[in-house]
Amino acid sequence: MNMSRIVRSTANILFPFILVFGFYIIVHGHLTPGGGFQGGAVAATGFVLLLVAFSPDIIRDKFSFNSMKYTEALGLLLFIITAFVAIALGTTFFFNWLANGGIIFGESVAFGANPGILNSAGTIPLMNVAVGIEVIGAMGLIIMYMLSGIEGGNKE
């Protein structure tokens, strides 16, 4: 069921900002506290905010179960492919094949205290993004399924 009009409009306004903040945490995972899981959890909480403020049916029209499943599988696939590329390049599984390479995310970091460069850390930002996508999908799906389990039986 919908909550009151005030809560709904708060959720509407807050949702993009929570999303941006979650993405910020994901993208800055290698510089500041945070990373894929934390940022993904924050962004997923944004979805959960919508689910609680509106009736779950309304949200299910816009983000269907299938699209969330694809999101989750896409994240995991991205993650495991990033690891597989390292094998294809002749090194081991999970080798950080972009670090200190100079191109994308390839700048090396000086030792000691420094504020950090966003364009560093090799595959780690890619994996952060992948895990972030996965966690958003997974958490959203869990809550959506559990909410759907309240309503009726699981027979058609």
């Binding site: 500041t32 506290p33 990373g35 899981f37 000691g112 205290a113 420094n114 504020p115 950090g116 966690v135 958490m139 869990i142 399924y145 559990m146 389990g149 309240i150 039986g153 699981n154």
Partner: protein, 114 residues
């Protein structure tokens, strides 16, 4: 001894969780107890890697001192996510059990026996 506070707290939280799992009758309480045990283990793990007057293992502009151990924090991070996955799965089991049996009392849900 006073410096061991986090360890003691972790141990006590684990014990409270275990007692809750053993003595409570509601299945949701049992899952809550499990979540408490897990929180205690997390606290124990993080406390293991703490160094006195250490700083967080993140390099920034501010001049650092000795840094706290990072591995154990990574482990705790992993365990937190595993914990929410477990809790979600267990609670959905409990919901299905309620839907089929009509009760979540642990004494009445034990239908497989012998």
């Amino acid at each position: 001894m006073i410096y061991n506070l986090p360890f003691i707290a972790a141990g006590l939280i684990i014990i409270i969780g275990i007692v809750m799992m053993v003595t409570k009758k509601n299945l949701i309480r049992i899952v809550m107890g499990l979540a408490l045990v897990e929180a205690g283990v997390n606290l124990f793990l993080v406390a293991t890697g703490y160094i006195e007057n250490g700083i967080a293992p993140i390099f920034t502009n501010s001049p650092g001192g000795e840094m706290v151990f990072p591995t154990v924090q990574a482990m705790t991070l992993t365990n937190i996510v595993i914990g929410i996955a477990t809790t979600a799965l267990l609670l959905s089991f409990v919901m299905i059990i309620y839907k089929k049996y009509g009760t979540v009392d642990v004494d009445k849900t034990g239908r497989l026996k012998g």
